[in-house]
Symmetry: C2
C-alpha cells in the first residue's frame, strides 16, 4: 500500500477544501430543477438505486471525489481485500495481521471466485448445512419425543447477534411455515429469562455463536440455556449447535449436535453472510432463500469494483459521507429506513460502521489529523417523523441522512385511506422528507421557517426480499470499507474494546472483596455506585 | 420571563468559556483519586444516585453551573411551568400558546397539587380507568363469547407510542398473569400485518391514541384493525378504546367502548404519565402498579425544585449536558442503559429530547447564536460494548455518555459463571466503561493506546420497578425542560415536522397523476425514485 494516498496526503484534498467553502446551495430558488439534476444524480448498483440530487455536490465536487477515489486507490484496495491480502494490520506494530475475506462467503455464483480457497471452505460448510437442514426438514433429526424442531434460539453478542437479528427481522415474512427464532445476547440475566419464557424448549435448537469459543457473555448465556434444557429433562447435546472457529473449545461433537465453522479472516461485524448468519437464516428461511440472500450480497460485491464513482453505489455513498463529515463538518449520520422490517438494521450498521471506523491511528501507527468515522444512528420512518425529525429540520446540528425505501410492501396487506394506500403514504413521506430537508421553506414566523440546505440521499429498491436484503447489507459493508481506505485506518480490528474488559475484571474482583493493588479507584467507584441507594421514599 | 437570562446573556457564560479552555483532565495521574472526588461527586434524587466524578468538571465549574442555573432561573421556571404558566409560546409570534402540565398527571400524592384543576381532571380520568379495569378484571366487561380480555393492541405514533412502548418493555415482568400488549405505530402496512398475526383478536382490546383524533398514521392503522375485527365477526365498538382530546372525532361512545381524555396542555412526547400511557399500563400492570409508576415520577418532580445543582439530579444532568455540548463542543449524547429491559428507552428519549430542543429560534423569535439540543442515541450494554464502544474509546468524535444501571435484576433468575453472577458482570461492565473512558491507559502500541479524558456519568438505582421507571422518566423529562430554559427555546412545540407533511401530500397527489403547479420537483423526484428500478440480475 506504499504508493497509495489517503485523505491526509491526496493532492485533491486541498481542492475539495476550497470547494467546501461554497458548497452547492440546495435551498436556492430552482436549485433542484437545474440541469436535469434530479434525473442525473441517480446511481444504480444491482437492485438498488441511489438518488443524490439532495446532496450538497455539483460536477466539480463529484470530479474531486472521483479523483480522491483514484488517488487513494479505493477500488484497487477493495479488490486486494477480496483477493486475500492481509488488510487487517498496522505496519510495524503488533496487530491481528489477518486477511479480510467476508466477501468470500458469497463469492459462490461465478466459476472464478476471487479467493478460491476461502470460498471452497464456505461451500463445504454450506453443503454440510444443507444436509443438516434437509434432515431437520424431513424429520431425520428430531427431538427426544420424535417431534420436529420449530424454534431456534440464537445465542451470541455483537457481530454474532446484531447482523443476524437485523436480517431475521427484515425477512420475517419469508420464514418457513411454523418456524421462529429468538435471540439472546445481553449478559443481563433478564434478557435470557424473558426469551426462554417464550419458547417450547423441547422443540428448540440452540445456535451458539462465538468465533473464539470464549466470549464471556455468550458462554454465560449458553450455560443458562443448557441448565434450562437439563431442568426440562432434555439433552443439551441433542439441541445445541455451535458456530465457531475450527478447533475452538466449542468445536466439540460431544456437546453439540453440529459445529459449523467460521474463520479468523471473517470479522464479527462482517460475519452475517458467513455461517454466523447462515445457520440461523437457513433454519428460518430454508436453504434456497438463504442462497438468494447470499446472491444479493454477491451482486453488490461485483458492482463495487466499478472505478466510476457515479456508477458504484457503495463507493459514491462512501465519498458523499466523507464530503459531509470531513469537508462540511457534520458529526453524525442518520440512517432512516422507511420499512418497519428494517427496524434493527440501523443498530447493525451502528456496530459495523462505528467499530470499523471509530479509530484515531492510521495504518502506519500515526495519529490521524482528520476526522474518521462519524456517530451512526437511526430509527424507521414514519415513526421518526413524529419524534426526532424536528431536530433534523430546525436544529442547530446538521445531520446528513441516508433514507432507505421500497416501492412495494412485503406482506401486500394494505388498504386505502383518504385516496392512498399505506405503502404509498410511506413512500411519499420518505421522498417528502428528503425534499423538505433540501429546499426548506421561508416563513415570516421565524419558528415556522425552514432554512433547508440539509443534505440527504435516498436508497431505493422494489421490495425488501432475501435478495435485496443481501444487497443492502453488502452496500453498507463496502461503503464502510471504502471509507476506512480513505481515512487510511484499519477498519478490521477493535482494540478499543479491550480496556473495558480489564477494568470490569478488576471491579468483579472488588465485588468479591479481592482488591488488587492499583485497583483502589475501581473499588471506590463501585462503593460510590452501590452504597446508600435509597429504596423507599415518600412524596 | 422578561428578567431572566439565558446562555447567550448570563454573565457567567463568559467565565465558563474561560474555564472550558482548560477543563479538568480525567486522564491525569491520580485525577479520580484526588480530594475524595469519587465520593463527593455523587448526587441523589428519589431512588436514583448520579455518579459524576467522571465528568470534566471541578468546583469552579460546578459553581459556574450553579450561577448559570440561578441567573437563568431554571428552578423558578420549572415551578412556573408546573403551576400552569403558558410556557409553550414564542413572544410576538403565532404559536401554540399553551400551558405545559404533564407534571400535573402525577401530582396526586399531596394535598396541595401545583395545578389543582389539571390534577383534578387527571384524578377523574384515573377513577374512570380504575372502574373500567375493575370491570375487565372481574369479568363485567367481556368479549362476544363472554371471555375476558387478555391482550391490548396500542395504536399510536410518536408520543403516543415511543414512551408507552419503552415503559411497557421496561416493566414486562410486572404484568398481570396472562396479559400482554402489542404496539402498532408505523404507517408501513407490514407493521400492522405482523402484529395482527400474533394476537387472538376476539380477546383483544384496541387502544387508539391520538390527541387530535386526526393523526393520519393512527387513523389508517385504526381502520386496518377495525376491518380485521369486522372480518373476524367482531364488533369494533366492543373492542376499541380511545385516548383523545375531549370533543375530538374520537370522543364518540358509538365507536368506542370508552374514551379517556388527554388535554392540550399535555405534549405528546411528555404524555407517558397521562392517560396516553395510563390506559395501557393500567391494563397490563394493574391499577396499583400504575399508581406506583406515577408516584415514582412525582417524587422526582418534587426533588427537581431544589435550587442546589449539587442536590438535584435532573438539574445537574441538564447543566453537565450544557457544559459538554456548548462549552466542550460535543455534538451528540449517548444514553446507554445496562438493562435489556430499557432497550427502547433511548428511542423514547431521542424523541423527547430532540423534538423538544432541536430548535434554532429563541422564545422571543430571534435566531440563537449557540448550539441547542444534541443528537441523542443509545443501545443497551453490554451489547453495545461489542458494537460501537470502539468509537467511544478511540474514535475522533468525543461522545459524552449517560450510563444507567441497577444493582439487582428484575427476574432474579441468574447463575454464577467464573465466580460471578450475570447481574454482577453487568454492573461491573457498566462501571468499568465509565472508568475506562475517563482514565484511559497509555500503551507503546499506538493502536492499543487509550487517551481517556472522555466524560460520562452513571445513574444508579436498586432495581428497575414501576416506581423507579416513573422516576427515571421524570428525571429525563425535567432534564430536557431545564436545558430548554438554559437555551431560551420553546421545548414544547414541533413546527419542524410541518413542512414534510405538506410535501408528502403533494407527492401523494403526484402519484395519482394530479400535479399541482409548483409541484414539479416533487413529481420529478418521485419519478426518479420509482422508474427504472432493476428487479432481476445475475452475478
Amino acid at each position: 500500500m506504499a504508493n497509495l494516498c489517503h485523505l491526509g496526503t491526496a493532492s485533491v484534498t486541498r481542492q475539495l477544501q476550497d470547494l467546501a467553502t461554497h458548497p452547492y446551495n440546495l435551498a436556492r430558488e430552482g436549485a433542484l430543477q437545474a440541469d436535469g439534476r434530479i434525473e442525473k444524480y441517480v446511481c444504480s448498483s444491482g437492485p438498488f438505486r441511489l438518488l443524490y440530487s439532495t446532496q450538497r455536490v455539483d460536477e466539480r465536487v463529484l470530479d474531486g471525489l472521483q479523483q480522491l477515489a483514484d488517488e487513494c486507490g479505493l477500488v484497487e484496495q477493495f479488490v486486494r481485500m477480496r483477493s486475500g491480502e492481509v488488510m487487517n494490520r498496522i505496519d510495524g506494530f503488533e496487530c491481528e495481521n489477518r486477511q479480510v475475506l467476508h466477501t468470500s462467503c458469497r463469492d459462490l455464483f461465478t466459476a472464478n471466485p476471487k479467493s478460491p480457497e476461502a470460498t471452497a471452505k464456505m461451500r463445504a460448510e454450506l453443503d454440510r448445512l444443507k444436509e443438516f437442514l434437509g434432515d431437520v426438514e424431513r424429520g431425520a433429526i428430531v427431538n427426544e419425543r420424535g417431534e420436529t424442531f420449530t424454534t431456534m434460539i440464537n445465542v451470541g453478542i455483537g457481530g454474532s447477534d446484531l447482523g443476524p437479528r437485523a436480517i431475521y427481522e427484515a425477512l420475517k415474512p419469508y420464514g418457513l411455515p411454523g418456524r421462529s427464532v429468538q435471540f439472546i445476547a445481553n449478559v443481563d440475566p433478564d434478557d435470557a429469562a424473558e426469551k426462554l419464557a417464550q419458547v417450547d424448549l423441547s422443540r428448540t435448537l440452540v445456535n451458539i455463536v462465538s468465533k473464539s469459543g470464549t466470549t464471556l457473555e455468550t458462554l454465560t448465556n449458553e450455560l443458562l440455556v443448557v441448565n434450562r434444557l437439563r431442568e426440562a429433562g432434555l439433552d443439551p447435546a441433542h439441541h445445541c449447535l455451535a458456530v465457531t472457529g475450527q478447533g475452538s473449545p466449542m468445536d466439540n461433537p460431544e456437546k453439540y449436535l453440529r459445529s459449523f465453522y467460521m474463520y479468523d479472516y471473517i470479522g464479527g461485524r462482517y460475519s452475517a453472510t458467513s455461517m454466523v448468519g447462515a445457520v440461523m437464516l437457513g433454519f428460518y428461511l430454508g436453504y434456497d432463500q438463504l442462497l438468494e440472500f447470499l446472491e444479493g450480497a454477491a451482486i453488490i460485491d461485483y458492482t463495487a469494483e466499478n472505478r466510476d464513482v457515479r456508477e458504484n453505489v457503495p463507493l459514491l455513498m462512501a465519498l458523499l459521507g466523507v464530503w459531509n463529515h470531513n469537508f462540511l463538518g457534520s458529526a453524525s449520520l442518520a440512517i432512516l429506513p422507511y420499512s418497519q422490517a428494517l427496524h434493527r438494521f440501523p443498530a447493525h450498521l451502528q456496530q459495523c460502521d462505528m467499530e470499523s471506523n471509530g479509530k484515531s491511528v492510521d495504518r502506519q501507527g500515526g495519529t490521524v489529523n482528520y476526522l474518521t468515522g462519524p456517530v451512526v444512528w437511526g430509527e424507521p420512518g414514519t415513526n421518526g417523523q413524529h419524534a426526532f425529525y424536528q431536530l433534523l429540520h430546525q436544529g442547530t446540528e446538521i445531520v446528513p441522512v441516508e433514507f432507505i425505501g421500497f416501492i412495494k410492501s412485503q406482506y401486500g396487506s394494505d388498504l386505502e385511506v383518504k385516496g392512498s394506500s399505506s405503502q404509498e403514504k410511506l413512500l411519499a413521506n420518505l421522498l417528502a422528507q428528503a425534499l423538505a430537508m433540501a429546499v426548506g421553506r421561508p416563513d415570516e414566523n421565524p419558528n415556522r421557517n425552514f432554512a433547508g440546505n440539509r443534505p440527504s440521499m435516498v436508497l431505493m429498491a422494489e421490495r425488501l426480499t432475501p435478495q435485496t436484503m443481501g444487497a443492502l447489507l453488502a452496500i453498507y459493508e463496502a461503503k464502510i470499507v471504502f471509507q476506512g481506505f480513505v481515512w487510511n485506518i484499519n477498519s478490521f480490528d477493535q482494540e478499543g474494546v479491550q480496556l473495558g474488559k480489564i477494568l470490569a475484571t478488576r471491579i468483579l474482583e472488588s465485588m468479591k472483596g479481592r482488591v488488587e493493588s492499583g485497583a483502589e479507584v475501581e473499588k471506590r467507584f463501585l462503593e460510590a455506585a452501590t452504597t446508600g441507594i435509597n429504596t423507599t421514599h415518600d412524596g
